[in-house]
């Protein structure tokens, strides 16, 4: 079963190569912390997780079957992207057309999210211009 989501696959691959490395480094930085077995609080989370799963399953079982071309998701907004984007935007990759133009504003938001994360990481653990002050929290 394939999903024909080449752009998504590509992104996941790139993220795996680039970000996973950082994730690994971050984990290395705090690996001396060891896992202790702790069973006492497991019941309530279990119930919450199962409840969420059941509610979701209840709804998902009602969706149009997988890959059904008649599903409403494919009949209303999406056809315009596939049929008109060649004329309106003029590039063959429809995902790029939607991402960069039809819903370009979401992408601006997405870049802003990345920037926000960058700012946050810099504030938290970035190298700072002055050396650390006395009695600081670190």
């Amino acid at each position: 079963m394939t999903l024909d989501a080449v752009d998504v696959a590509f992104t996941e691959a790139a993220v795996g190569a680039g970000i996973a490395t950082i994730l690994m480094l971050a984990t290395l930085a705090i690996t001396s912390a060891r896992q202790k077995p702790s069973e006492k609080r497991a019941l309530a989370p279990m119930l919450a997780a199962v409840a969420t799963g059941l509610v979701l399953a209840y709804g998902l079982a009602d969706l149009p079957p997988f890959a059904d071309p008649e599903a409403p998701a494919h009949r209303h907004v999406a056809p315009r992207y596939l049929n008109e984007s060649a004329k309106e935007i003029g590039i063959p990759n429809v995902v790029t057309s939607v991402l960069a133009s039809y819903r370009g504003y979401d992408t601006l938001g997405e870049v802003t999210v990345i920037f926000t994360a960058g700012v946050g990481v810099l504030v938290l653990i970035g190298r700072t211009r002055h050396r650390r002050r006395e009695n600081d929290d670190e």
């Binding site: 912390a33 896992q35 702790s38």
Partner: protein, 125 residues
């Protein structure tokens, strides 16, 4: 529709449900902050699978226009999930940065140890 094809038609969705339960459980039950972040990632990945699944069309190809094909997968869910993946990565990076700082401040990333430490500081005040 036979039972088997019924199960198969919704196979992706079952995976989504199981991953969501797994992710939520790890997020809530595991006291290790780094593992909580991993739980969040599982949770988010489940939603990515849900979105891509709903974009697929029987007999469609990747939505890159070419004269050889007439039927394409729905590009919109792909776009949405690209955004969501990016948001997920950004959240992970920030969460890990916080975990690193917490480790420097408490010398632990175990929730119960951190709480115990805070309780001790509270008594001293």
């Amino acid at each position: 529709m036979s039972l088997l094809s019924e199960i198969f038609a919704y196979f992706n969705y079952w995976v989504v449900v199981i991953l969501i339960m797994l992710g939520m459980y790890v997020v809530m039950a595991n006291p290790n902050l780094v593992k909580k972040v991993i739980g969040l990632n599982i949770f988010q990945t489940a939603v990515f699978i849900f979105y891509i699944s709903m974009g697929e069309i029987e007999g469609g190809t990747a939505p890159i226009l070419d004269d050889a094909f007439t039927r394409y997968a729905n590009p919109l869910p792909h776009v949405l999930i690209l955004t969501a993946i990016v948001v997920g990565v950004a959240t992970t990076a920030l969460a890990l940065a916080l975990a690193v700082r917490i480790y420097r401040a408490y010398e632990s990333v175990e929730e119960d140890e951190i709480d115990a430490e805070d309780a001790r500081a509270e008594v001293q005040e």
